[in-house]
Amino acid sequence: MLGGLALLTVLAPLSAQRAIQVTSVRSLVFGTVFPGVRRTVLRTDPLNSGRLDIRATRNAQVQLIFTLPAVLNGPAGATMPVSFGGNDGGFSATRSVASQIGFDPRVPYVARLNANSSRASVFLGGSANPIASQRAGSYTGTVTLTVVYFP
């Protein structure tokens, strides 16, 4: 019984410490990009789509708000346009890239975790649109996912 009492002592104050975690698992990768050739990555691409994992409480509702760049910044002030379509966001309450509900990442989206799971995944696809005279070099940008926990 002493062990049981000790466990109770630890658990009681911690049960109030429910947590939320959003983890960036995988960047959105466009792979080989050639000047003048549009490169699209689908949100269902298991290797190249962006992926973020959410851990919260079961049945929790969260609002997902992407802040997406219009261009990527490259060398000597060069930029490369990127675009995101109305079906480039994906939510999976089962964390499966093969089982997603598509949504428009350009507008807020409300998702709900499963009643029997505290985990979910968010996927992101998009297109890189290098122009024909695209300057060589590295291009970078930032995607921000805001996760609003309700309440």
Binding site: I20, S24, V29, T144, L145, V147
Partner: protein, 275 residues
């Protein structure tokens, strides 16, 4: 890291994804009392890289949009009629770096005006985590163009500050249920009573004429002012019948400690499902 913190990690199974980058934030909703005027949020970094975190405080509350979906309403400059705690709530530190497999505490300090009336005041805490650029696998030099995207995560949680006598409740009106194929779409207006947000759970059941339950749902609900939510409950291939939707709303939550919840009577309503 303390034993307590590791327990929290363990309950969410974080250990399996140490390669990923992000911070865990606990608790997921903050409740502060006027007596203590302080609070704390713990940030845990289960990853292998340090994470830079910026903390900000702003005023906001949830409401429903025209489609019945929850949405966060923010007000940059709330006036005196808004129960905002953002103007007198501070977080320390506002910028920090959480090392790999470390935890840090963000302290919250409230300095409300002396004549603050009894009631509940709201704010939102935003934690912006930047874990640096993730490796961009698969990039080739063939085209001599490399493309990388940095992922940044901003997590927003709610804060409730309570002073003196606080009470809550709800009034339900306009309950409507419509069958659409294999689902019943439910809509209602839920208006908050009292001077504090209503935190509860909606339990809905669709009942056939013989009393058999053909569909059910339960969903957490938070009402700051008034919500007009829309829920869809699956009833599968239920045959044509006279169905009734029963709604019960209680001040219970799976995700919050009972002592944090303001109690109010159970609210029940029902309506015939429109075929």
């Amino acid at each position: 890291m303390s034993r307590a913190a590791w327990f929290v990690l363990g309950t969410l199974g974080v250990g399996a994804t140490l390669r990923a980058q992000g911070v865990m934030i606990a608790p997921h909703a903050v409740f502060m009392s006027h007596g203590a005027r302080s609070g704390a949020v713990t940030l845990l970094n289960p990853g292998t890289e340090p994470v830079e975190v910026a903390v900000s405080v702003f005023y906001g509350y949830t409401a429903t949009d025209s489609t019945g979906q929850l949405t966060l309403v923010t007000v940059d400059h709330p006036d005196s009629t808004q129960p905002s705690a953002s103007g007198w709530l501070q977080a320390f530190p506002r910028r920090l770096t959480v090392g790999p497999q470390e935890q840090q505490v963000v302290r919250l300090l409230a300095t409300p005006p002396a004549n603050l009336p009894d009631g509940e005041y709201w704010a939102r805490l935003a934690f912006t985590a930047k874990a640096g650029q993730l490796p961009v696998a698969g990039v080739s030099d063939t085209g001599n163009i490399k493309v990388g995207l940095t992922l940044q995560v901003r997590t927003v949680i709610g804060l409730h500050y309570r002073k003196g006598v606080v009470r809550t409740g709800i009034a339900v009106s306009g309950l409507h249920a419509l069958r659409q194929g294999d689902s019943v779409v439910v809509q209602a207006r839920i208006e908050r009573q009292g001077n504090a947000a209503y935190l509860g759970t909606v339990h809905g059941t669709v009942v056939a004429s013989n009393g058999r339950v053909v569909g059910a749902f339960h969903v957490p609900v938070t009402v700051f002012y008034a919500n007009e939510p829309r829920w869809a409950v699956s009833i599968g291939a239920a045959p044509a019948d006279s169905y009734r939707l029963r709604l019960e709303i209680t001040t219970e939550r799976e995700d919050l400690q009972p002592e944090l919840l303001l109690q109010s009577p159970v609210v029940r309503d029902s309506v015939e499902v429109t075929p």
